[in-house]
């Protein structure tokens, strides 16, 4: 019993994927290692081969394992071949705790992606864009008290994603979504560190700069915020 009482039952596949992810990411299994065959594993875990196959397929999509058809499944050199979904898996496993390396990496990318979005949006923003951003920012302020930590993090994520959407560069939006889970973990930490009021004030400062079409200003505010966050992380 229990301990991890999940109201919604966890499927065999989900359990299997988590176990394998943990074993691989923790270093218990090393790149190149051969994994048990689908049949073996199915028998050992008392589940169907189809389930194991589906699980291996998912791990393969993340880049954690390398499936050689009709031959075997091997642990992949995932830091070479994996994709960003691995980050999301890492975050979920470690319960929203981010290592420093992951944090700085993600922030570097965020600066690149969102910085570009800010600059583009400042060039093309309409009055409607400004009104819309003000409206959703107001909504965040109004519901901040009764919103949970995760929900608030989600709202901040959506606010920044909106910048990408409004910028018209749809690639940036797709990228933001790809890094969703890891972003949420970041925002939870951020909001704990700086507090809600400070964070919302910052959103409004961004809106002012966009309204003034000050792309460089918005970029610099973003860059400065990231630097500051990393500096505080160092001093912890």
């Amino acid at each position: 019993m229990n301990g991890a009482d999940k109201p919604s039952r966890i499927s065999h596949k989900e359990l299997f994927v988590r176990k394998m992810t943990r074993d691989i990411l923790s270093g218990k299994l090393n790149p190149g290692d051969r994994l048990p065959s689908e049949r073996e594993l199915a028998a050992e875990l008392g589940i169907g081969k189809t389930v194991v196959h589906s699980g291996y397929e998912k791990l393969s999509n993340m880049g954690l394992v390398d499936i050689k058809p009709k031959s075997g499944v091997f642990v992949a050199d995932y830091m070479k071949t994996g994709n960003i979904e691995i980050l999301n898996a890492i975050v979920q496993l470690s319960g929203n705790e981010l290592s420093r390396e992951v944090t700085t990496g993600i922030l570097d990318l965020r600066l690149a992606v969102e910085g570009m979005a800010f600059r583009e949006l400042c060039l093309r923003r309409s009055e409607e864009d400004i009104a819309y951003l003000k409206r959703i920012t107001g909504e965040i302020r109004n519901t901040a008290d009764r919103a949970g930590e995760d929900e608030l993090a989600e709202r901040f994520f959506q606010w920044h994603r909106e910048i990408c959407i409004l910028s018209g560069k749809s690639i940036l939006t797709l990228f933001m979504n790809t890094a969703h889970d890891v972003s949420i973990a970041f925002w939870v930490n951020y909001l704990r560190m700086y507090g809600i009021t400070f964070a919302i004030d910052r959103l409004e400062r961004f809106i002012e700069l966009i309204e003034a079409r000050d792309g460089e200003g918005a970029y610099n505010l973003l860059a400065k915020g990231i630097d500051d966050y990393l500096a505080r992380l160092e001093n912890e």
Copy 2:
């Protein structure tokens, strides 16, 4: 020869996913539309319900559809909620042809990601790194004649990914892999446009700059290359 000779038979699931992807991306189906139930579709297409389920699952992973459990499957507002895998799907559907918007978007991101990798690598590169880069570049040159278009594109992709790996910023590598398919499409076009010799010479120029620890130089060469490519694209 050839064109589309696929030796490996295409599975029902693959066919189904492609059809749905095409219908959604082409605008034949619109965000919010309810899709047929798994059973309906299975009967209509003469395949098993599990196959349809698995297909819907894949589409959901890409962010193309929104699965409401026990309720129905709906076309998602994918430009808002989709992730980068959608790009890969777009590329595959259009037979490696890239729209201008996708191309510029991807190149913007590449500049951000690889530019950072070049700068970092110039700071920390060892003699071994240089020797390794020279070796794999030599291999590309030696095999360029007998390699197919796609294989060569893959090798160029791997070369640039190697920059990310050697830079030590593993997040950048993960990002590169996430955009793999779309990058291959880019490199195929690039190699057609500039020719193999020019492209390989350029790799060697990069190595010289890394050896000289000239991070700015490498960044500028990358930026200039991208600008030039986009300019030529305009004039086509």
